[in-house]
């Protein structure tokens, strides 16, 4: 069954620190007042323009086994190939901030308001990323409510374009999920429109399902290594609840 979720902005809003970090400003840096004012301006504009919404569709392991290979371009050692067979439950997801934000960013550049344009872009990107975490929380809550998972389980999202899952995998994912219902389409290069959108598979299982060593063939080329910080957070939460 497919489920559409309209998010309250407060639910998905990325923290200011994450937005600034996205622009190379570390959390412990003394941030000048002008840059903080720029952030406030961008956050306020985002709040008036963004229409965050998402979609979830559960998928069986057998069905995902058909979706995941995409067009045969995945790395031989793609992380998801090892993760999904161990999952208790799987769901495809997509979420978007809507198209108005991207239009506003372009408009700022046209008017030479570069700093504001880049700040708004960072707010939108980080909020889209945060939305994939929130949608995972929604799916987890659903599984708990239906007594198919416990709070001790973990639901994490994995996306085409990362960790060996080739971006052309989007085509089969979109064919199954049909996120055009929330206004997301795919172009010939597998780029999502609106730009500030995310998609992937939600994997529910024990912590062991999600923890791996980042020594894959594609890891040396990876610039963000968000998998590491995410695993650290996961293990910290596990230690905290022990």
């Amino acid at each position: 069954m497919k489920r559409i979720i309209h998010f309250e902005l407060e639910e998905v809003r990325a923290p200011r620190e994450a937005v600034l970090d996205h622009q190379g400003i570390p959390e412990d840096a003394e941030v000048p007042h002008r840059i903080l004012a720029l952030y406030d301006d961008a956050a306020s504009q985002f709040a008036s323009l963004a229409r965050p919404r998402g979609m979830i569709a559960e998928i069986s392991e057998a069905e995902f086994r058909e979706v995941f290979p995409g067009e045969g371009n995945n790395a031989d050692d793609a992380v998801v190939a090892n993760v999904f067979p161990k999952a208790d439950h799987l769901a495809l997801f997509a979420a978007t901030m809507g198209g108005e934000v991207s239009e506003a960013i372009a408009d700022h550049f046209d008017k030479n308001e570069f700093a504001l344009g880049v700040m708004l872009d960072a707010v939108a990107s980080m909020t889209a990323d945060r939305t994939s975490e929130v949608i995972a929380d929604h799916y987890h809550a659903q599984l708990i409510a239906e007594e198919r998972a416990t709070p001790a389980h973990h639901v994490l999202g994995y996306s085409p374009g990362y960790c060996g899952w080739h971006i052309t995998g989007q085509r089969k994912l979109f064919a199954y999920l049909t996120p055009d219902k929330i206004g997301i389409s795919l172009n010939a290069s597998c780029l999502m429109n609106p730009l500030k959108s995310v998609s992937g598979v939600l994997v529910s299982g024990s912590i062991d399902v999600h923890v791996f060593k980042a020594g894959y063939s594609y890891c040396p080329q990876c610039r963000n290594a968000t998998c590491l910080s995410r695993m650290e957070r996961l293990m910290a939460s596990e230690r905290g609840s022990a």
Partner: protein
Amino acid sequence: MDLLKEISESLQKGDDAKVGELTQKAIDEGMEPKVILDDGLIAGMNVIGKRFRDHEIFLPHVLLSARAMYAGMDLLRPLFLRDEVPSAGKVVLGTVQGDLHDIGKNLVGIMLKGAGFEIVDLGKDVAPEVFVDTAEKEGASIIGMSTLLTTTAPGMVRVIEIINERGLGDKIKTIVGGAPVSQDMADTIGADAYGYDAANAVETIKEMVGV
């Protein structure tokens, strides 16, 4: 304080209104536009560029200064029409065909302009032929290509092929950048250079044209 120094310092503070005001004052006092550009605006952006490379300031600070530079340039540009706007070189920039991400490319363009380069920004979703045709028509010596997607990286390969097919390899050099691009990839596809990030791309292009 020396007027040019004041322009430079106001630019470093990202005060676009003040830069505009001081640039107009310099023009009214009969100062040569090229002197105002080189010793006021570009001098200020050079300081900003160095401080950014040294991690003393952050990206938004650079962009505020860039806006201030544009405020000054808008006043100077009409004065150069009789001759030509002085340029460190001409660069054709674009995001490759199929890709609509342009923030990275825009940052490179803004920083290159700040360093005194002339930019022909083709925007996003640019066909390979358009990159080369434009570089030939405009007499640009550098083509800069950006992508955020692995699926569109072959567009970069095609641009390099077209340059070679037309025998333009000595006249037009290429630099590539974007999330899926690496030095290895740049070497593999035969690009002349790789820009790790916007600041690095600007430094690399400066080296390529000998500025």
